[in-house]
Amino acid sequence: MLIFTLRRLNLFLFTMLILSILSFSLSFLFPGEQIINISGQINATPEGIELVALEYGKHESLITQYWIYLNQLFEGNWGVSMTSQLPIYGEILNHLPATIELTMTALFIAMVTGIPIGFIAAINHRKKADDFILSFAMIGYSIPIFWLGLLTILIFSIQLGWLPSAGQISLLYEIKQVTGIQFIDILLSDSPYKWQAFQNASSHIILPSCVVALAPATIFIRLARTSMLNVLDTHYIKAAMAKGLTFQQIIYRHAIRNALVNVIRDVGLQFANLVTLAMVTEVIFSWPGIGRWLIESIYQRDYTAIQGGLLALSCFIFLVHILTDFIYATLNPLARETHRGPQ
């Protein structure tokens, strides 16, 4: 396990290095002055620009510039937004938690619905249920997300009036920010309307997270189905059958865990996809997350914001990836790789 952790850590550092280099080079690739792109000081006087240039080591070699950029990143100086002149770092801290909340909820929904349905399909292989689930997955996967988002708003918010269509929580509730993750903040707060606020926030997250979850859930259906079919075809399932275990025992004791191991491995990969869907959904549902903020920045050609937002989002995606890797390793003894020879 130690070696596994070290290996992941190594991968993490290396990927962070690449990401920061990418982010740094973006400031050169975007149109306009590099020093303005990187700092966001769009209204500064020539003297002010010169000061900023000194601060970023503009007159040194590229390597030194990159090094200074890294130091700035760690100090929390990510530049200011070109449009609002607010510090990017603060903006990201404000917006990222909402996205974390939305994507994590969506991932959870996608997994707890998609994986069992996929297993059911595999167990009923070559039967009606399997065909039905597969075609459902196909349709679910091909529905465009913006259309689905608008459709759900039309049905559940406007016609039925069951669920709110915009925002993260009703403006009536004032929640003090502690961690940034709203649900946790609500639970931490000492407001007398804590539970109402909690309910309100829950009803706000249902629609957008379900919309985000649909396509990944269909992918999980297919992954889980394939994985379960492979497992059911293995020798150890046959051997368990010969042992005299019932089909249910085989499924619960052996098949599910082994199939799950293979699905978990791919969750990390699917997560990037899910974040992209979440960005679009945030716009539709006016969710105050980093995706919406980033898309707005793209519209406004706010290069500094784009740069910082991309860096933050990709770090987040990568962290989740590593996290799923660890879950995979705890489930799968083969990935942990320690050899022991009794006798």
Binding site: D233, T234, H235, Y236, K238, A239, A240, M241, A242, K243, G244, L245, Q249, R253, H254, R257, N258, V261, L331, N332, P333, L334, T338, H339, R340, G341, P342, Q343
Partner: protein, 329 residues
Amino acid sequence: MNILDIRNLSIKLLTSTTPILAVDRVSLAMKEGEVRGLVGESGSGKSLLAQAIVGVLDDKWQVDADRFHWRGIDLMRLSVDERKKVISKDVAMIFQEPMACLDPTTTIGAQLEEAVDDEQLTGYFWQRKQQRKLAAANLLHKVGIKHHEVCTKSYPHQLTEALCQRVMIAMALAKRPILLIADEPTAAMESTNQNQIFRLLASLNQLKNMSILLISHDLENVTHWTNTITVMYSGQFVEAGTTQHIFNKPYHPYTRALVDSSPKANMQIPMKSRLMTLPGSIPILQHLPIGCRLGPRCPKAQKACVQAPKVKNYHGHQVSCHYSLKGSY
């Protein structure tokens, strides 16, 4: 009295076009306490036959038989589930490739414990877990694994192939089977380990009077341990008889070739001379010859061989060949 009596068992592989007859009317009988070898080249359908007996073939295979009796019970009359129940109570199987037959994400101990029958446990349900543990440890001792604590905590990939095979045998013993089917139990093992496994099986046969169907692709390897041998080739029955008969006086050209190609039977031939072998190799499932499937490789083949031969019985020595070698001894 035969405990297992199989007459003309066929296994078809159902494909999108015509079904392929992978095993073609093979008969097999086992007496109580007997060790029978099932021998044939790789790809002769030995594993298929064994899996058909224990009923673990999936639904792309179709199994038919004229007669399939287990201890007097006609299994063909039972439903699939009932058949499985009867068989899995008394028959245990150890598969080829032991490592692949153990669940990689579950510890050996847990897998052993679940093989222990509920009927063997006596205590109340809160005592059962402990009893299962004990039973698992005992099983490991029986197959000669002394340090059971280390073994039960390990995952399959942490053990060697030979240890896994012992664990598989221990699992098979858990339900105290009357018949043990061992599918190439020593394949890919060093010869010292091979002998240990064979000796273990032989002692189980003698102490528990357990019948064993010992499957192997190597005739010579099993002759020392078996009473009787059945030979198969490409899914067809070839010859069955006592080990002495099969090894010393084979009636079938294929068995003759197997014996001739084994070094032990050829101690007297000069060093570095060529061993007799049949030309060619076993046909693949998609291109099976009609009639006697040995035809294209058989030194004695004649026109009649395009018809599959009938099994002839000479005092319990059965052979399936139009031109058997019986007259040549």
